[in-house]
Symmetry: C2
Subunit: 566 residues, 2 copies
């Protein structure tokens, strides 16, 4: 962006075997100076479809975005559904790397096609929300282009700004976490369009691929968690996690929320049916789980989709709001502003503790989003820069962040596998990198008591290694439930990769890939200045017992550090 | 403060030889968990007069305050003139340690006397500025009590909040840096009074003491820098540093300020004379340098004192304000709010770069101080939490902080000894801990070319070791000029300590004391998670050449780290 030039380069030999997170993390680790300012010209923003993206393999359309995070200062990978990963792969693009920074205060868009990338100056859409971007581009571009866009939050370089990705119906999904939208904004790129390509990517061994995909899709469809997700969406977890006493409530002061029934997946399912919405919806072509939904408003008009448990928990239990329509309204506002629903809602919970707003004031949340965050007032910037920012601004000591990123929807005092994941994640407080909830609470992949320390380090380690590999394939993380329980699933996934590229990878190769990605990411973080003191939870998790179990985090530093013994 | 109880304890044997910074740092390192939240109940706030405080030794009345800093997360010592150190010493108090946190949302004051400490609930002065506190206490207390107080900034626990100390004329000096006022606020202590004591502390060998003090005071008085400081105050440096091309201007984008003459020490001296102020003024009894002053307004009424170079630089050149009366007004406002003039002014410079205010708008600065910082609006909190906070809030990449503390009045690109001091200081960006300006620019203690790397690490190391020792004696740092140049000065200082305690310390003992303090402080920081990656300057100092010399910081990481080879 410094010279407003583009070029197409062959993939270096070493990176041919990488895709998705493995590729973004390797590129960032190789090319971004670890101590650079994340919003300065030396950071790079990398997009990479997964190894299987662009094929017909079920659930293979995740797009990884990577950079040094302005929120955490660590390496960051954030992935999303939508159509962009598949379209980029079909354009022959293994990774899109945006570097430098324009000298002039002008904004641009990028267009990716099989011929390369073009840069155009953009003015009409600057300052506009994501929905306006999508609507305008639907008119301006012909056909079913992929779109990656930032809202006002990204333009303002707020540390919670996300990058949104158009889904097949023209709605939005997001690379939500870590403020990568701010990095895109720092490079003055408002949106990226990707040429629609009908043809699938070439597959080396088509018959083997078809066979493997059939076995793989069957494993996904057959798993009970997949079926539950299809019916109730991810929000089925509200009642489950509340029952387990791990639903962080009122800024992490309780593990149960009185209003849980009013915001639960079951209640939401009923509302959706009643209002003529859709309980099932795909965020990408080829999804066989369909955990998204169409949530209509009281007048039976489309309100939102991709209405997830973590968002509903954060605005709901976290801020004590028990009205799903208020939460849906806030969800839409955050999508339009282009800001991470987890980070922002946790930030609002901390602001409520500081007295900025009353707990439970759902309309107040919407007002602050519209009047402050969207407009970039001082309060809006404090909140839009995340939970840590709010804590520092108001001198709050109960601030649930690791490496300055908000901890999501599972209290680490009651779901102790998550304590290890949050603490050791190379990305800061994140649930997706090692979803110990599966084995702590859902009894997927066995069972480990959520209230004891035993087995949690090993559990988180195995999950984080596997997840790093899965995040490289383009697969949605929800294949993990089947992969953990159904012996046919993981071999089928490996067969898919082998058939796609004519390889003969084994399960060990996949494990080694996961290990190598984690170590590459950790190496970047260490070079940026992080050490094991950063792999710790905030003080209050160790000292404030969480009702109803009155448990605290009791891992020693040595126990946490043993995570890295591999 | 948790139980609202006090106790008097004998000084442990190991700490008997410590005073001032040596004592506060040793107590904090021994008793504060390094990873605790600085505003939580586990931090401790420690005050300690120096080893010679309370005696008649010239310039021996500095008070050290120590804690884990909410601004930097490191150990912190910040010292100040005023009367409190001498009065505490005369009460027989070697250190005052405030720990815990009240459960209830009530405020308190502490009263120190030879009999111990009492705690009283306080309501009248809550929310009041420092000047109102002094005025009210002048009526409420009889005699010449010492007073330590926090303003609204400390009550709001802003990271730039200072602790102000009453001087002999009822004006204020401050333990300015690192947000220790926020720690005092977190403990709900609004002010501390110290009983007036007429008797001096007992001296073991009175005759030796008198002889040493005579030699010591003569060395101070005879040094040309002392004389210049007495005439023009510290602000004599504006023209000197501007001439050297090291006066950080317009948020660190130039090393020279066009308006330097209008805010210089020479101009200020003329204004003071013209308006019937005083160019010379002592912040403590027994000062033979008298670098403070009484600065009157246009109507020849008292406006401010302790009007220092670093404050005038920060609001002046840093924010491009060339009107001394605007700067004086802002200085008074910051003193009343109880907020560090360096941190806050650098923060405003960053805010100006972000477009919050125009560079040069002195009345705008005063408006923001009154309407935002004093009232704790969202913008006020962003600014009141320091330069790093402003940078993060507005996505500015040129943010002159080390360990999140604002770098003061000497650009490290043109005064390279200061690059080492800022980077390696255990306290974050700070000029006092190793004032290489002396030898880089003022030719005190020899001469080292400010624009080359050679000799700077050794220079900073020697100065930091000596300063840690001086900060333990209760001596004002301005004795260092004489100590560096006059062979009679340092032996006389050591003789003073020996005569006070009947010891036989040598110069090596003093050096070893300095080394041991630095290592104790570094040990705390390492246990809190800091490592050598934190001993670096912000990226832009390495990449943006500074006019007029167009120099950059060019120390390698290894060169910086070699500072610690002792």
């Amino acid at each position: 962006m410094s010279e407003l030039t583009t070029s197409v380069e062959e993939t270096p030999q070493d990176w041919l075997g990488h895709g998705g997170r493995g590729l973004t993390s390797n590129i960032v680790a190789a090319e971004v100076p670890p101590t650079c300012h994340p919003l300065g010209p030396n950071n790079k923003l990398v997009f990479a479809p997964g190894l299987l993206s662009g094929t017909v393999a079920a659930n293979s359309g995740r797009l990884s975005a990577g950079a040094k995070s302005p929120l955490t200062g660590t390496i960051k990978e954030s992935n999303s559904g939508g159509t962009a990963a598949q379209l980029l792969a079909r354009c022959g693009c293994k990774a899109l790397i945006i570097e430098g920074q324009p000298e002039e205060d002008k904004w641009y868009s990028l267009a990716v096609s099989p011929q390369g990338v073009t840069i155009s100056e953009e003015s009409e859409l600057i300052g506009k929300g994501n929905f306006a971007v999508l609507e305008t581009l639907a008119g301006r571009l012909e056909g079913k282009q992929g779109v990656l866009t930032i809202g006002p939050a990204g333009e303002m370089r707020l540390c919670s700004a996300n990058i949104s990705v158009k889904d097949p119906d023209g709605h939005l999904r997001s690379c939500g976490r870590g403020g990568l939208g701010a990095v895109m904004g720092s490079k003055k790129v408002k949106f990226i369009s990707v040429d629609p390509q009908d043809g699938k990517v070439e597959v080396a061994l088509p018959d083997d691929f078809k066979t493997a995909n059939r076995a793989f899709a069957k494993a996904l469809i057959d798993h009970p968690v997949s079926q539950t997700l299809g019916t109730y969406g991810t929000n089925v977890l509200i009642n489950v996690i509340n029952e387990a006493g791990g639903l962080p409530t009122k800024n992490f002061t309780s593990g149960q929320f009185e209003g849980h029934d009013k915001i639960s997946g079951e209640t939401m399912h009923d509302i959706i049916e009643e209002r003529g919405g859709k309980p099932k919806h795909s965020c990408q072509a080829g999804c066989v789980i369909q955990c998204s939904q169409i949530y209509n408003d009281k007048d039976k008009q489309y309100k939102t989709s991709g209405f997830e448990y973590e968002s509903i928990w954060a605005m709901g239990a976290g801020c004590c709001v028990d009205n799903l329509d208020d939460i849906a309204e806030a969800d839409v506002l955050m999508d339009d502003i282009g800001i991470d629903t987890i980070e922002t809602s946790v930030a609002i919970g901390v602001a409520m503790e500081a007295g900025v707003l009353e707990f439970g004031d759902g309309t107040g949340i919407c007002r602050i989003l519209k009047e402050d965050v969207a407009k970039g007032t001082a309060l809006g910037r404090i909140i839009g820069n995340g939970a840590g920012s709010v804590g520092r601004a108001f001198g709050v000591t109960r601030v649930p962040v690791v490496k300055n990123q908000a901890i999501p929807a599972y209290d680490p005092r009651s779901v102790k596998g998550m304590a290890i994941t949050y603490a050791t994640s190379t990305m800061g407080g994140d649930h997706t990198v090692g979803y110990a909830v599966a084995t702590n609470i859902l009894n997927v992949g066995g069972s480990v008591d959520p209230l004891t320390k035993e087995g949690q380090v090993e559990l988180s380690r195995n999950l984080q290694i596997a997840t790093a590999a899965i995040d490289s394939t383009g697969m949605c993380l929800f294949i993990a439930f089947a992969a953990l329980d159904d012996p046919a699933c993981l071999p089928a996934l490996i067969d898919l990769i082998n058939a796609r590229y004519d390889l003969s990878l084994t399960g060990d190769d996949v494990t080694n890939l996961g290990k190598s990605i984690l170590k590459t990411e950790k190496g970047f973080n260490e070079a940026a200045g992080f050490n094991n003191a950063d792999d710790r939870l905030p003080e209050f998790f160790y000292t404030e017992p969480l009702p109803p179990h009155n448990s605290v985090v009791d891992f020693s530093g040595e126990e946490i550090d043993s995570f890295w013994n591999f």
